[in-house]
């Protein structure tokens, strides 16, 4: 194959837009043509740098301010649609029953914004949007769902009207409804209705919901929804929890979720072979990404690169972006390995060992890093306890990364035990210890460790919520102790911790089924 007609061909190749035959021909050409290869590398380098600019989270005020502007336009937001039914004082400290209240806040946000615009009270808007009540402000504001929704729900008599009503209800109760529950409206209707019921707080609203359930029950096409929510990767509690990870289709079992489970248990080779099988079949787009990230984590840079380059050609933008991100990690790992190779003398001081450990982590050489950090901790000893503690934590973390969960658990326990008043590091170690125990199927011990942990003074609310979240998920999934789980997860749900609170709600709902 001669040089491609235009450089755009190379771009199309990187975009994953070439037909397989074309792609194969181009790859063959790339193997021989240095100029084209350089061009591809340069375009990739640009993508990697672009990848450093992360999306900005929109500020919380954005919606409130927009809501106020919209209300001012007064096109739809008529005052009579906005009727708060209950404004009552509640204790400032959130207790377990606060779960419902938090949800109602999330739902009534927009209406509260309209209220604010109507000069009823600017404070209510703030309460609704932050989910936190400033001191001396009524902490319970529940607006009644708007008339149109109630109209549809209470007069629905045919399946299609029911489905319509469900979509409306779903929009109102959106915090509790997932995409999966909406793709087949009737099948999923009961999920939606229950979610809706959970967001309302008056007898009238409850009656409407009940009526809807009766209608659904009478409908000939009604099917009970199969539980679609499988709590596959809750265990990854500390690892940047995304609600999406809570879902895995079942049945059929998702082989990637299975691989993920093995990976979490530290059975890295089994996980890799699982991912590898799926990737070889070429059916699931995320398999290459999974193989790439796991190989990278296992320190196999070449293997990771091959898989990630395949993933970069994927059609899914998120897979592409993630793969590009990991490729830039990989480039950096190579650079770090170069530096390590250039290091001359064996470290002698704690700081030197620590620095070598950091470099080894960058090089994705967790095995040696775990060792270096332990050396750093020992060298620091009593002369620099803070450094020793930090290094011990990092060592345990590296053990976890290499799949040596038991060793990691002991390491975290040591960090946790070294202090009676835990800081962020100690408290994190406590959570990691509990998570680790559950990964090696020591569920009772895991919950016991969590219980010990939550007795202590938490350094911040997020970590406290994480500790309860993990405790609750093990109680629910592994120990089948619904009561204990409701208590733990109810706290997380009421803690206003974004995705984590939402995840707790999902867990709670799944437990009720």
């Amino acid at each position: 194959m001669a040089c491609p007609n235009t450089k755009l061909e190379l771009q199309a190749y990187l975009d994953g837009e070439l037909a397989p035959a074309r792609r194969a021909a181009l790859e063959e050409h790339l193997a021989q043509c240095e100029e084209c290869r350089r061009e591809v590398e340069e375009l990739k380098a640009v993508l990697q740098v672009l990848g450093g600019w992360q999306d900005r989270e929109v500020s919380r005020e954005f919606e409130l301010s927009l809501g106020t502007k919209v209300a001012t336009e007064d096109k739809i937001l008529k005052p009579e649609f906005v009727r708060p039914t209950a404004v009552a004082a509640a204790p400032a400290v959130a207790a377990a029953p606060a779960r419902r209240r938090t949800l109602a806040w999330a739902v009534s946000g927009w209406r509260a914004a309209a209220l604010a615009a109507a000069a009823a009270s600017a404070v209510i808007g703030v309460v609704a949007f932050t989910g936190k009540a400033p001191v001396n402000v009524p902490s319970r504001v529940i607006a009644r769902p708007s008339v149109d929704i109630f109209g549809v729900l209470s007069t629905a008599t045919t399946p299609s009207q029911v489905a319509d009503g469900c979509v409306y209800a779903a929009i109102v109760s959106k915090t509790a409804v997932t995409a999966e529950t909406l793709d087949a409206p009737r099948v999923a209707a009961s999920d939606v209705v229950y979610a809706f019921l959970d967001t309302v707080d008056s007898q009238a609203d409850t009656n409407v919901g009940r009526k809807l359930i009766n209608l659904l029950a009478e409908s000939a096409t009604w099917e009970r929804p199969k539980p679609r929510v499988q709590l596959a990767t809750v265990l990854d509690g500390l690892g940047g929890l995304f609600v999406r990870d809570l879902y895995a289709a079942e049945p059929p079992a998702d082989p990637l979720a299975e691989g993920r489970r093995l990976e979490l248990q530290g059975r890295l080779r089994e996980a890799l072979s699982k991912y590898g099988d799926v990737a070889a079949q070429g059916k699931l787009p995320r398999a290459d990404l999974a193989v790439g990230s796991l190989r990278l984590r296992m320190g196999d840079l070449e293997g990771a690169q091959t898989a990630l380059e395949r993933a970069v050609g994927d059609t899914d933008a998120i897979v592409r972006a993630s793969a590009q991100g990991l490729l830039s990690e990989l480039t950096d790992a190579r650079r770090a390995r170069g530096k390590l190779a250039a290091l001359g003398a064996v470290p002698s001081t704690a700081a030197e060992w620590y620095r070598q450990g950091v470099l080894e982590v960058r090089a994705y050489d967790f095995r040696n890093a775990a060792n270096s950090f332990i050396k750093a901790a020992n060298a620091a000893g009593a002369s620099d306890p803070a450094l020793a503690q930090d290094a011990r934590f990092r060592s345990a973390w590296c053990h976890k990364e290499t799949g040596q969960i038991t060793t990691a658990v002991y390491g975290f326990r040591e960090v946790m035990g070294a202090s009676t008043t835990p800081g962020v590091l100690e408290y994190s170690a406590g959570i990691e210890q509990a998570v680790g125990l559950s990964r090696i199927s020591q569920y009772g011990e895991s919950v016991a460790a969590s219980k010990e942990l939550v007795k202590r003074q938490p350094p911040n609310r997020t970590l406290e919520a994480l500790a309860y979240f993990h405790k609750g998920s093990v109680e629910l999934r592994n120990l089948k102790d619904t009561n204990a789980a409701s208590e733990s997860l109810g706290r997380v749900q009421a803690s206003g911790q974004g995705n984590l609170s939402y995840a707790a709600l999902v867990l709670l709902n799944s437990g009720a089924q």
Binding site: D55, R56, E73, S146, I171, E180, A321, V361, R362, C398
Partner: protein, 203 residues
């Protein structure tokens, strides 16, 4: 470079249906659309202008226009393309106004991180060493310079492709040209960026 917010992942009612529901009188449908797109529109404008402060205001103005004009929305078209077009027009106006008094193109420090760093922070795991932080900083400055130099059309095409993940066809609709032209704009934008990155010694 993830650009989805929570609500979007979990609600599969199509955008166009939501516009219809909104036009029948349900403002919740509009709220859903706002929640679905606010992140993407704000970030699109932010990256086009290099000015985060202004981007939220312009994004709000975009939604307000969509709110006013929803009745004239033709549901044979994609809502996303329509909304991006509104945002693009507002942003282009802003850039035109600015051409007389040039403003620096800025990536906020807090939005700049190498992939994997954020994950490590959440995990409480090993962080960054100073050298890497330095290289990162240089990369950010180089990218600011490079993106700031691009023509607004090339910049928008690149952003819509690489950050927003739109297809060439969708971008062509938004920027009112052909898909072929967009491909070449995106390519030229990347080459120009590479040239500047190289000049500044970060690649």
């Amino acid at each position: 470079m993830t650009r989805q917010n929570g609500s979007e992942k979990y609600n599969q009612v199509p955008d166009e249906t939501l516009v219809e529901i909104f036009n029948r009188g349900s403002r919740e449908a509009f709220v859903e659309l706002v929640q679905r797109y606010q992140g993407r529109i704000v970030n699109f404008i932010y990256r086009t202008l290099g000015d985060f402060e202004r981007s939220e205001e312009l994004a709000q103005e975009s939604f307000l226009r969509a709110f006013r004009k929803a009745e004239s929305f033709d549901s044979r078209y994609r809502f996303s393309t329509w909304l991006y077009t509104i945002a693009k027009n507002l942003t282009s106006n802003e850039l035109r106004d600015r051409s007389r008094r040039p403003t620096p193109y800025t990536i906020e420090d807090e939005d700049w991180a190498s992939a994997g760093q954020a994950a490590n922070e959440v995990r409480g795991g090993p962080g960054e060493d100073p050298e890497r932080v330095l290289l990162n900083k240089e990369m950010k400055q180089a990218l600011e310079k490079a993106l700031g130099k691009l023509s607004s059309e090339h910049r928008m095409a690149l952003i819509l492709k690489e950050y927003d993940g739109l297809t060439y066809g969708e971008i062509a609709d938004i920027l009112d040209t052909s898909a072929g032209t967009i491909k070449s704009w995106v390519y030229r934008a990347k080459r120009e960026i590479y040239r500047i990155l190289k000049e500044m010694g970060v690649v």
